[in-house]
């Protein structure tokens, strides 16, 4: 087995293995009937491989039990996306709370509960604050000093609004029909772009 071949075989073994491989492991794995590379050979091949992987997506690292190829930390933000779970959907309760805060700000939790007829969980309020869609504007000067909530700049940005004015008024909202045409208009368009995407996908093949 010449040097190049030895290097590639070790690379193959490191890439396939699900554990670090020590030089001893490698010597054993590579033992053949005719020529068996020794520790020296393996070690110098590992050195050469380490050099080759210096500017790649992974690097050859040595840990306690041997050598392994490890994806460079630099790529963590991209690699992490491979396992990102599809986010869950927000509950109705959360959306209603958010809507009430948007339309009736500044509003206290008690006032929201008053309209919704059920209590608002702390988790919902926490989620909305963490998402930075909602902020505490201050505290009402009444017993218990309840927090008053309002929406944030980020809320407007997220929903692509210039100001709260752009939200439909209660009267407009009441008119169910006024919301539907927009939806109907959207649907075929969406389908269209879906077809386009599919076509684009085909082209790429």
């Amino acid at each position: 087995m010449n040097e190049e071949m030895l290097k590639s075989t070790i690379e193959a073994l490191l890439l396939a293995a699900d554990r670090p491989l020590s030089t001893r492991n490698l010597v054993e794995l590579l033992a053949g009937e005719h020529e068996s590379p020794n520790h020296e050979d393996v070690r110098s091949a590992l050195d050469a491989l380490g050099e080759e992987w210096r500017a790649r997506g992974a690097e050859l690292v040595r840990v306690a039990s041997g050598y392994r190829l490890q994806v460079r930390q630099t790529f963590e933000p991209w690699v992490a996306r491979l396992w990102e779970e599809r986010p869950p959907r927000y509950s109705r309760a959360l959306l209603e709370t958010l809507a009430l805060i948007a339309y009736r700000q500044p509003i206290t939790r008690a006032e929201i509960e008053d309209v919704r007829g059920v209590s608002v969980s702390s988790q919902i309020v926490k989620t909305l604050l963490e998402r930075e869609w909602v902020q505490v504007l201050g505290h009402r000067d009444t017993p218990g000093r309840p927090a008053m909530y309002g929406t944030t700049r980020q809320f407007l940005d997220y929903f692509n609004l210039k100001s709260l004015d752009q939200l439909p008024s209660l009267v407009e909202l009441k008119d169910v029909e006024s919301m539907n045409p927009e939806l109907e208009f959207d649907a075929p368009q969406a389908q269209d772009s879906g077809a386009q995407a599919a076509a684009a996908g085909d082209e790429l093949h």
Binding site: A16, R68, V79, R116
Partner: protein, 274 residues
């Protein structure tokens, strides 16, 4: 791994089983092999069609040339052997035995004078055997394709330390509005509020005033008005301030007559002292 060089298939009987590394092509007539080994052999057939194919191929016969009487007899011997070994014989094997017997009897009947259009009694069986053999072959071909875990291996490198990120759900404005409509419908708020023109600009201004008060304890009254917003803007701000005052959320303070008026949050003092 099969290291044997491939020999021309026709010249050799197909081993139908491999027992302890030895291909078995013919069943010995005497039961020298232990019964459980025989069991392995008999169970190696993937069904009655497979067994029939074996019997035909063993003699290098074409499917189109089935000597039905002979094959039937051999088939029945196998069935008998299975019975002897108390193997559970799948019902399909017995059905096939009946089919073979029927074909055999039809073939023994004297042919009605040169009936041209009469189909050979074996035709249906031959069709089935051919069809089965195709897929038996396809399965063998599939098995020889290089495949993962056996011939092919993926690569994997150890992962870097991965920070778990929260992926936040998406919400559409439409969804938000629907929720609001639902909650209002439930609360029957439309009836109470449909006269009042919901001035969201006022609400928004209330929020802005309160935001400003979060940053500074006192905000000069005049600084809340911006001339560039025009009359409407001024009015909106003024209404927002009145609304906040009404709700005792803010206070206006003036240290002496004609001095600057300041706005402060009503709860500031308490907050500071608490």
């Amino acid at each position: 791994m099969d290291n044997e060089p491939t020999k021309p298939a026709v010249q050799e009987e197909m081993p139908f089983a491999v027992v302890q590394g030895e291909p078995v092509t013919v069943l010995p007539n005497d039961l020298y092999i232990p019964p459980d080994a025989l069991e392995v052999i008999l169970e190696a057939f993937a069904g009655p069609l497979d067994l029939l194919l074996y019997l035909i191929r063993r003699q290098n016969l074409d499917i189109l040339d089935i000597p039905i009487a002979q094959i039937t007899q051999q088939y029945m011997e196998y069935i008998a052997m299975m019975e002897e070994l108390r193997l559970e014989i799948a019902a399909e094997y017995l059905v096939m035995a009946a089919v073979l017997a029927e074909i055999k009897s039809r073939m023994l009947l004297p042919r009605v004078v040169e009936a041209e259009d009469e189909e050979d009694p074996r035709a249906e069986l031959v069709r089935r055997l051919q069809e089965y053999e195709r897929f038996k072959q396809a399965a063998q071909d599939l098995d020889t394709l290089p495949r993962m875990e056996r011939d092919l291996f993926t690569t994997a490198a150890e992962l870097p330390e991965i920070q778990r990120r929260m992926v936040l759900p998406d919400v559409s404005l439409d969804e938000l509005l629907r929720s609001f409509r639902d909650v209002l419908n439930r609360a029957d708020m439309f009836t109470h509020h449909n006269i009042e023109r919901e001035a969201l600009s006022v609400r928004e201004r209330m929020t802005l005033v309160l935001s400003a008060l979060q940053e500074r304890e006192f905000v000069e009254f005049g600084s809340l008005f911006a001339a560039r917003e025009g009359r409407l803007g001024v009015v909106v701000t003024f209404i927002a301030l009145l609304e906040l005052l009404k709700e005792s959320v803010i206070e206006l303070v003036q240290s002496e007559p004609f001095a600057a008026i300041y706005v402060k949050a009503a709860d500031r003092q308490l907050q500071a002292s608490s």
